[in-house]
Symmetry: C2
Subunit: 162 residues, 2 copies
DNA sequence: CGTATATCATTGAAAAAGTCAACAGTATTG
DNA sequence: CAATACTGTTGACTTTTTCAATGATATACG
């Protein structure tokens, strides 16, 4: 078996193989920023979605609600651009939030085509609770980083995200 | 209109509003690491997918191919864990790569249930070309960061991704 | 040994998300 | 006024995700 290329690893690996694919951490892929970003996001949004479930929200709807509470009065088109979503997906998300009374559509008097999304009182209250959950979720996801490192990460991400 | 809360912004905003939702950059959401990570990944993998299209690959299939070329002989279960995908998705991805002759399934003699994914010669050649594309894509996506900043980002992401 | 339990790859179905074209109403341009 | 472009909306379609069930194999334990 020593020179047989189809077997994975050798006997020394067996102890390490018990808990999974730690072996792959040394891979080229595991060092690509692209991949690490995708994985970080997958873990992070997975946790956030789980925790937001108690409010019957997902990160998507939370994001829309957050922007509706921002005081910036975003239009649906702006939400679509900012969240990198198709306008039709925004329609569905706003529909849900509107049906549960968290946000309202107000047609912009300056441009009667566009509709500004604003949060209701109930919506702002919901957002407060959701925000606390998101903060806890983020805190858990970033538990291996110091506060200063989190700031560094935030700034670096901001520069590549905008 | 001055005190009308439903109008968005004031006249001073109009010049800035021409190109989109830059206004939202000051939002709370725009400062959440979670959100920035999602947006960075969306932009990055979008670009990578576009550029990989010339090889008829996506980031998903590229990731599997990359791990198949890693010399670590991963099983499908390990691929699923590492890529945060459902085992059934791995089946589909490996099927595609196998049909085009880039990888092969080899049943692990140590555990005849599991199948080790290894790259063929053609697969390694394909990976070389894909890797070059990914490198260019990543370079473009991170163009606003210095080399040292990229290293910092990579290390921070690694710590939260594993 | 034999029996129960667990794990792997696979299939198929269902739900969710993403993509795209068309439409009515409105704005902008010339 | 006419032509063009943009907004939200709908509906169809594809892709991705999620989940339960299955056969083959491995492991644990009496």
């Amino acid at each position: 078996m020593s020179a047989h290329t189809t077997t994975r690893g050798n006997d020394a690996d067996l102890a390490e193989n018990t808990n999974g694919a730690q072996r792959l951490h040394t891979t080229e892929l595991a060092n690509e920023i692209e991949f690490l970003t995708a994985r970080a996001r997958s873990l992070g949004s997975g946790r956030a979605n789980n925790m937001l479930a108690e409010l019957d929200l997902k990160v998507r709807s939370y994001s829309v609600l957050s922007l509706a509470c921002s005081g910036q009065n975003p239009s649906q088109r702006e939400l679509a651009d900012f969240l990198s979503l198709d306008p039709s997906q925004i329609v569905a998300l706003v529909d849900q939030l509107e049906h549960r009374g968290a946000v309202a559509r107000e047609t912009d008097p300056r441009d009667r085509r566009s509709k500004v999304i604003v949060a209701t009182t109930a919506g702002r209250s919901l957002y407060k609770r959701a925000e606390a959950i998101i903060r806890r979720s983020e805190d858990q996801s970033l538990s291996t980083l110091s506060l200063q490192e989190r700031e560094t990460l935030r700034d670096l991400l901001k520069r590549i995200a905008f």
